[in-house]
């Protein structure tokens, strides 16, 4: 019996952003399919659809030729589909055995009561399949990271016994936090499973994908741009395919500016915050845009947070604006003139229930009043209006709550919040265009560029490499918490996109 799961013409959009378009994909038992693509190419959406966490807007999912409905994680589990999450999904204060059977109906926990000996026995069996020896009654929080990964793995494998068909196992970036030895152990497990399961393996590291997969699928902008067998592709070609249609238009006129040789605004020296990043050193001048390229988990986002005072570095120094040490808290950063556009807009960027104006003036409105605590509501509103107009925010009226705006317009208001600061010197942009349509993105970047020409410095973690090349004066590439490459487009040498990707993965 050869089981197979097939997607036919699957489409999924989040508002105006199309995450997947007309996707056909076949997953067969006995085969490892490697899935690659840049950030935002639709990989995670595809995994969500397969694991029942998202429903496609269009298209169908066929199991052995029969259409099925995957509308919840439980439904997916019933069909034998399980996912090993990148960020572990275990509950730390439950035991290993409880975690393994948490999402499954099992004989040992009937009627809401645990039969502990039976549960532990069943869990031990699952762990034995992996050839690991972890006490099943130990709490997950007391385990080492690699052992937790094994438990996560065992939890997914336990699906095998729940259904009478070969399981489909999805690996979402399983190797990003593992040591080389642990990666080899993981690959051994996958190879052991290969014959009796179908496996999807997602990774940014192309060597790994090529090593473990039988077939590689490349996604770009939500479409499948290539599907190759392992034998018919090499690393170089895979890069080209991944970068694909987003290749930079060589006609893009890069801003021809010379950053003055005056003292740098920010000097970072061997900065470290384990486990996110370490040994990071760079300088940024006034009126310069420093782009940072890096995949999820590269440490670029955490670096931004550390510069904003939201993460405390373990080692190294930050010198800001001629000697002052780095901010110890976001509040201190605000006072130093450092702004931060967070990637998590909803919970860190905006005050959902408050008005558009209030969101714009919350940080620097005091500068328009008296001694920063008595407000001038008229002056600060005028300032907010100026920026809101300048950024072309589309809205009914400024008194409406910010949550009534579209994502792009919300992002513009959050940018306005920082630009209101009269002494803003450094702006940290963490994935500023995430979820934005091209028009809103262009409005946003236009204003950022204009401010940079007036002396603002910007550190920019981009969603796509095209964006990075478009905006940055200088680019550093981070991988696994370290700087792996540095490019200097402002000096005339526009790097090739392939070179950047090569340093990222």
């Amino acid at each position: 019996m050869i089981g197979s799961l097939a997607l036919r013409g699957v489409r999924k959009a989040y508002g105006p952003v199309v995450a997947l378009e007309g996707l056909d994909l076949e997953l067969r038992v006995g085969e490892v399919v490697g899935l690659v693509g840049q950030n935002g190419s639709g990989k995670s959406t595809l995994l969500k659809i397969l694991s029942g966490l998202a429903s496609p807007d269009r298209g169908e999912i066929l199991l052995d030729g029969e259409p099925i409905l995957l509308d919840s994680a439980a439904a997916a589990a019933r069909y034998g589909i399980g996912m090993v999450h990148q960020e572990q999904s275990l509950i730390p204060n439950l035991t290993v055995a409880e975690n393994i059977f948490l999402d499954k109906a099992h004989a040992s926990k009937r009627f809401g009561l645990y039969n502990w000996p039976a549960l532990n026995r069943a869990a031990r069996l699952q762990l034995q399949k992996l050839g690991v020896d972890i006490p099943t009654n130990k709490r997950v929080e007391d385990l080492r990271f690699s052992a937790r990964q094994q438990v996560e793995f065992a939890k997914v494998l336990a699906i095998e016994e729940m259904v009478d068909r070969p399981p489909l196992i999805l690996f979402d970036e399983p190797t990003s936090l593992l040591t080389p030895d642990e990666i080899q152990a993981l690959f051994a497990q996958i190879n052991r499973l290969r014959a009796r399961a179908s496996i999807v393996f997602v990774s940014h590291r192309l060597e790994e994908v090529l090593e473990i997969s039988d077939r590689v699928v490349v996604l770009t902008d939500g479409r499948k741009v290539a599907e190759r067998t392992k034998q018919s592709i090499d690393r170089e070609e895979l890069y080209e395919l991944m970068v694909g249609r987003q290749r930079v238009d060589p006609s893009i006129q890069h801003r021809d500016r010379h950053v003055t040789g005056a003292a740098p605004l920010l000097e970072v020296d061997r900065l470290a915050s384990e486990p996110h990043f370490h040994g990071i050193s760079f300088k940024i001048g006034r009126g310069e845009i420093l782009g940072i390229a890096g995949v999820l988990g590269s440490g670029a986002e955490e670096l931004c947070r550390a510069l904003f005072g939201a993460i405390k570095p373990d080692a190294g120094t930050i010198a800001f604006n001629g000697g002052a040490s780095g901010p110890g808290s976001p509040r201190a950063a605000v006072q130093l003139g450092i702004g931060y556009l967070p990637s998590d807009r909803r919970s860190e960027g905006m005050l959902p229930g408050r008005s558009i104006t209030e969101n714009a003036v919350i940080t620097y409105g005091g500068q328009y009043g008296w001694k920063s605590w008595l407000l001038s509501r008229r002056k600060e509103r005028e300032a907010a209006q100026r920026w809101i107009r300048r950024l072309k925010v589309k809205m009914d009226k400024e008194g409406a709550p910010i949550s009534s705006l579209s994502g792009g317009n919300q992002q513009k208001v959050i940018l306005a919040k920082w630009l209101l600061g009269r002494n803003l010197r450094l702006l940290l942009l963490d994935h500023p265009s995430r979820g934005l349509d091209p028009g809103a993105r262009d409005d946003l970047f236009e204003v950022v560029r204009e401010q940079v020409d007036k002396g603002l410095s910007v550190i920019f973690v981009a969603d796509t490499i095209a964006e990075l090349l478009e905006l940055s004066d200088r680019i550093i590439v981070m991988r696994d918490g370290e700087v792996t490459a540095e490019f200097n487009p402002a000096l005339g040498a526009l790097p090739r996109e392939e070179d950047i990707v090569a340093a990222m993965v």
Partner: protein
Amino acid sequence: MIGDRLQLIRSFAPLAFLILLVAASAVIAPGVLQPDSIIGFISDAAPVIALVIGGTFPILAGSIDLSVAGVASVTGVLVVVLNPVFGPWTSLVVVLVAILFGAMQGFVHTWLQLPSFIVSLATLSILSGLALLLSNATAEPVPSDDILVGILGNSVAGIPNTAILLVLIVAVLRLAMRFTRFGRDVYALGSGERAALMSGVNGFVTRTLLFAISAGCAAIAGLFLISVTSFSSPTLAGNLLLLSIVGVVLGGTAISGGVGGLFAAVVGGLITAWLRIVAVIIGVAPTAQNIIFGLTALIAVALTTERKKLGVIK
């Protein structure tokens, strides 16, 4: 646009309810609208409103202060106990002490990152115990030389001075909320704490001030109470704890923070005080009144909770 109208209905529903409640009572018992009854009602309502205002502030920023009734009780006791030391200015000193205490409570809550619910429940117990201890669990007459209590006991042109002071306090707080950075930061913390902190809002100072205001209002509520009864009892405000929370919610201030304010607090306080009149009119035994208020609290919270906003109910 539909959202706007809903918003409007939301903020004026409590006021409409208050008017409806008063009208209904007047139909059953026309006497409640006599000038004398109204004056009596105002004296009766002033301490409740002051407590509700005090209770509202921390809630706006997503915290809660359960100790307000304890502060009110201790205030009454201290006015008597400290009279030999501070003489006619005792009550003023006591209010300042209460404000200082509130600031400390806010500081402990934010600095040690303890849930305000637990911190203020603990201080409620401490304060109630302190009131009993300091007063030897006996009621005492309020010293006649206390200036502030003396003034509060009088009236100008028929209007009780408690009401006048209350209006003054509301006006000052209203200005502070509208025209200072503090006022805006309170709402910011209540509607999204992470985003507020990432926007440079000073959580420590704001919360410390909030709890100081809360305790200050509670102390003034305590003065209102003893100015009416001219007796200070250690359990003076004992049954006002639940009432103060009921008032906050009935006014339309969301327990989850960020929605509501002074107007809501005043309306909520008036409704709560009037509910006590209703309880008398419809003949609920005084011993059974707390049951009515408890049920009202449940219903009010159920009606005003924005369930969409809550991820996890604690």
